[in-house]
């Protein structure tokens, strides 16, 4: 067999480990149950399966791209290493005091999540930097030694070092590290000035603690994985997907495991971005809906939008503030508690509420017949004719309409004097509205108008709801790609090598210093490029420059993208114009006569994204073969309509089905509302557009 590229994408999720093998243009995929105790076992098992399908040897694999939820789960389930924090005297409790506020003001019995490290595992040293990075109080080896001794005695595996204003001056953090490393050579050390050199001590300290906390676990897992793969005859290079939507080397991943936290969802966004490229779409909204949550992401110019901070492990109904902040480069996504398993109830105002509580897979929605008595989104979908009770998940799970009806009646209908159908209609309208609201808010926060966007939907439940979401959002076009069930793992294979380096340094436009700017950005470029070069020694590396600006006195910066020329030959007028332009777009009007400042500088080094060949799009064709007809409830019309059922596998390239229509396949069901038509594109995407 001629030498061809054989690449493997592996995504370890909470329930399934998805493995996708790509041999040239052919793709083979499988899902195996995640093996928590030794996650590498599921990977080996999955590799076996896809290699057999593709009829290749293990040793034929050239490259593995891996993403995992293990780091996230370790944070959620508190299964990290015995970890200590060394911080500045007077600030021992920063990660415990959080923002000193209640994320839910109307709950007298609110409890706050425990910090990752309890108080006795947090140590302090003297020494202090000021807000300009100048030393106010020196720190000496003698100051540090007693703490190091205590840490040695207590037998910690990992230590986080987070000192006040270290994002401006890391000398003290480095000194602590050196003394610690001398005395306790085997201990793993994470510095806040390296993991997350950004202002705001709570976020920075929490991020470095999270990194230290999962580092031993991830290092050991990645080491074992490498060993197991070698035992299996796989000697290729292994790379890791990071939260920012790119890939990094296994060594960097082991040192900065906190960067892996959102790798799965990031893969999903890259998957959608790749579809966007195939269709030449510059404005895309990706919509991923599974069993428990829905994720929404804006993708402009085929690049997912990124952010500098996000929240992980929310403990209270997905509520903002109830988790822990992690400040690392991350694909900017909204996640809400809305999935097929989300449960509905009636609140005190007799309003239907859906989620975030989920029926999970056990007992599952009422219609699974496994003892679930409360109505879930899937129950409503069944009653409204969206699902075929005899052909759910390829016929592997039988659905019971009567059970769904009873659950809807008893939990919703009886209190609202509605029949089961109207209850189901109400339930799906509420959950669709929740998701639409999340998308609208996200778009407005980014100054975007969704009516210009195309939606790309994937994940088991998304194609059932995406059509209605498009109607609600005024989105004209919806693409449902094939392979949507393993979207993240496919996304890994499409991701570039990339690394984003950030630094907080204040500068006002009044004190604009082109030389200093060039210096900051050049250094960041060198830093970020080194990470990428470490993975790929041949490809050209592009640098993307971003500065975060605001009016002096504001607390919220907006990212301003610069090209290489603007970054390397900084011009104050250009910076000012770019800021005012973007600010006006976001907030309607500029503020006259205010100073402008730059707070954070960022360089993303990346290999060029692969050349994607455009799909030869079809716009019309023969009518798809109608398998049968079924009653389908159309929420926009608020009534049942007669819909044609079409089998996706039998839809020829270019064939068309007019809404109302139902396109079925093993992994999901695609609903085409009465207001839309669907066409199967040559690459297998179902392309759903508004009727003219």
């Amino acid at each position: 067999m001629a030498k061809q590229s054989v690449r493997l994408g592996v995504d370890i999720g909470g329930t399934f480990t998805d493995v996708v093998l790509e041999v040239g243009n052919q793709t083979y995929s499988t899902k195996v149950l995640t093996t928590y105790i030794a996650p590498e076992n599921a990977i080996i098992d999955g590799i076996q399966q896809v290699c057999t399908k593709a009829n290749i040897q293990h040793s034929d694999i050239n490259q593995i791209i891996h993403g995992t939820t293990l780091a996230t789960n370790a944070l959620i389930e508190r299964r990290g290493a015995k970890t200590a924090l060394i911080t500045t005297e007077g600030f021992r409790d920063v990660i415990e005091m959080r923002t000193e506020s209640r994320f839910e003001q109307y709950d007298l019995n609110l409890t706050l999540p425990d910090p990752l490290l309890p108080r006795q595992m947090r140590y302090t040293v003297p020494g202090r930097m000021d807000a300009n990075g100048n030393e106010l109080i020196p720190l000496t080896r003698a100051d540090i030694l007693p703490i190091v001794d205590e840490i040695a005695t207590a037998g910690y595996q990992s230590v986080a070092i987070g000192l006040i204003h270290s994002y401006l001056n890391d000398t003290h953090e480095k000194l602590v590290r050196d003394v610690l490393a001398e005395r306790v050579p085997d201990i793993m050390i994470s510095l806040s000035s390296e993991v997350s050199p950004q202002m705001r001590e709570y976020e920075r300290f929490n991020t470095v603690v999270a990194n230290a906390y999962i580092k031993p676990l991830m290092k050991s897992y990645l080491g074992r994985l490498e060993g197991r793969l070698q035992d299996e005859g796989i000697n290729c290079s292994i790379f890791l997907m990071h939260s920012g939507g790119g890939i990094i080397s296994i060594e960097n991943a082991a040192n900065f495991p906190v960067r892996l936290v959102e790798s799965g969802p990031a893969g999903g966004a890259v998957f959608a971005a790749n579809i966007a490229a195939k269709y030449g779409l510059d404005k895309v909204l990706s919509f991923d809906m599974g069993g428990t949550t829905a994720k929404i992401c804006l993708i402009k110019n085929q690049t997912p939008k990124t952010s500098r901070v996000f929240e992980v492990a929310r403990t209270y109904r997905f509520k903002k503030g109830s988790g822990m902040p992690i400040s690392i480069p991350v694909i900017d996504m909204v996640e809400i508690g809305a999935g097929g398993g989300s449960l509905a109830h009636i609140d005190a105002m007799r309003q239907i509420r859906v989620g975030p509580e989920s029926a999970g897979s056990e007992p599952g929605p009422a219609c699974y017949g496994r003892g679930g008595a409360r109505p879930a989104v899937t129950d409503a979908d069944l009653i409204l004719g969206r699902l075929d009770p005899n052909n759910f998940a390829g016929g592997s799970i039988k659905l019971y309409a009567l059970l769904a009806e009873n659950a809807l009646k008893s939990e919703l209908g009886d209190q609202l004097t509605m029949d089961a159908t109207t209850s189901a209609f109400g339930l799906t309208e509420v959950v669709d509205e929740n998701m639409a609201n999340a998308a609208r808010v996200h778009a407005v926060e980014n100054g975007e108008d969704l009516s210009e966007y195309t939606m790309i939907a994937f994940g088991g439940a998304a194609p059932l709801h995406a059509g209605r979401l498009c109607e609600k959002l005024g989105v004209n076009r919806l693409l449902v790609p094939p392979g949507a069930g393993v979207g993240s793992a496919i996304g890994f294979l499409r991701a570039p090598f990339s690394f984003e380096a950030n630094r907080s340094v204040y500068m006002t436009l009044k004190s604009f210093d082109p030389k200093k700017i060039k210096n900051i950005l050049s250094n960041l470029k060198i830093e970020a490029t080194a990470f990428v070069r470490n993975c790929d020694i041949v490809s050209p590396i592009l640098a993307e420059f971003k500065v975060y600006m605001r009016y002096s006195g504001q607390g919220w910066e907006i990212p301003i993208t610069l090209n290489e020329n603007q970054a390397m030959n900084p011009n104050v007028t250009e910076f000012e114009n770019r800021f005012i332009e973007d600010y006006t777009k976001l907030f309607g009007r500029p503020v006259e006569g205010m100073n402008i400042e730059i707070t954070v500088w960022s360089v993303n080094a990346t290999t060029p994204s692969e050349n994607v060949s455009r799909v030869a799009e079809k716009i019309n064709g023969e009518t798809a073969l109608i398998h049968c007809e079924r009653n389908l409830f159309d929420p926009a019309l608020a009534k049942f309509v007669n819909a044609s059922v079409v089998l996706r596998d039998y839809m020829k390239s270019g064939s068309v089905t007019q809404g109302p229509s139902i396109i079925t396949e093993d992994e999901t069901t695609i609903i085409v509302p009465s207001s839309r038509n669907a066409i199967r594109q040559p690459d297998g995407c179902i392309d759903i557009t508004r009727k003219i």
Binding site: M97, S101, R102, Q105, D130, A348, Q351, T422
Partner: protein, 570 residues
Amino acid sequence: MTKKHSEVAYQVMWNRLISVVEEQAQALIRTAFSTSVREAGDLSAGAYDVNGQMLAQAVTGTPGHVNAMADAVSHFIRRIGPANIFEGDIYITNDPWEGTGHLHDITMVTPSFYVGKLVGFFACTAHIVDIGGRGFGADAASIYEEGLYIPIMKFANRGIVDDTLICIVRGNVREPDQLIGDMYALATCNEIGHRRLINMMEEFNLNNLEGIGTFILENSRRATLERIAALPRKSGVGEMTVDGFDTPIKLKVKVTVYEDRIVSDFTGSSQLDKKGINCPLVYTKAYACYALKVAIAPEIPNNAASLAPFEIKAPIDTIVNAVHPAPVALRHIIGHFVPDTVFNAFDKIVPGLVPAEGAGCLCNFQVSLRPRSDATAPNGARRSEVLTFNSGGSGARPNHDGLNATAFPSGVMTMPVEATEHAGPVIIWRKELRPDSGGAGKQRGGLGQYMEVGAREGHEFDIQAMFDRVNYPALGRHGGIAGASTIINQDDGSTMRGKGKQFVPHGRKVIMAFPGGGGYGNPKDRPAELIKRDLARGYISAKAAREIYGMKQDEINAVLSAVKSGNYTQ
């Protein structure tokens, strides 16, 4: 004509309206200049019908604003005059009695027009750092000294901003750029709410908000009345004494549950104070309502109907019903104690539901920094106003410990120390939990915190202290012990007062210990595991473990040595 919508459609619209006001609040946070708004979230945003009835309010924000702002819009309609309301208008005030209780809160209201017709209003409020006068503090003897007063007036008339107003504001405040910036941020926030409302009206083919308004208010009223009807028809009296400025203040309330309303009568509370800690009735009402709502109807959203059954009475010219021209700048101090007072009464009506007393009012201070005057100041020394929000411990709950260093009843956040130190030449030397400050009990009160503040080299400053519970700590409930009191002095040991503007010379620091919450139930009933955990974490000292909780010395030693050897990891 009003189109009849289905129940399902109304449910969707209500959801949408709540999302609209939430977005309005987020826009304010992202565009505001004052740290109090952008970092601390001291703000509020809401949507109103054409009569000024509040239909929806953002959950982002703080109860004092939330409930006070409910009444504000009807004042605007009356003052501006319905015939004088035009598309493109924006109204403004900081009237303590028609806004949210002091001159430091700017409220802005924007009429919302759809196809040339008035359909509703958007309002928002933000706490700004300076409004001139004596500065943010309790020192004034009347409202005239507390700063610039902006009566209800037009900030913009048919889209044209009033330059005269801007000029006057600029000329009267210490941080004009910041304040003008915040005024624009407030206007932007209403504008964003308006735009989203219009989108919704187009989508649902609405001409007005009557149908949806009725739906929201009727459902909310019914739900609230059901909760009230389920309570015993009883009265309870609650009292609490707090420091006040120069003389202690007594707060007294009689809470009576009727079939369809709850009346809180503050007769018997102290008279007006000479200093600016007096509270306008609107703010007292806001926090009395909050206390009752959080106890009996927490999930019912705030709107005109869900707030209406909570009535309040207080004699004029008392500390809880101050009228013009009484000084009211620090009205939050009394306001933040209202819930504890109401809880003291409500515990007699429904025992076992409400927490013990907590730190109550926020432990805020503002520093006014300037170049040192005792010697030549270095180049670059400057003037600056820095306000910080901090919290003591909350009261223990019937089944949970109090929250450590967490605001209650206020909903604001603290500012990051690193952000505060960028705001001016100030240094926060310490900000951490205060061991042994949580009142002992079966459930322990939340811990207070230590703070130390100084100035950068070359600066001296005035500190405006806004602390209470120096002489009257948070009391425990049902056998629980009081939390620790507030302490404030300078690093050379010289004492300072809990309230008022005080000078701090070059090179000195202010050392503060903020109060803990009261305990709930007898400390002897506290589970041994929790006492051990508290000792291991250093929430309590070995002495407290021994003397208050009755822990034996060998048990104490065992816990401390487990901590040393790294074996106590909880």
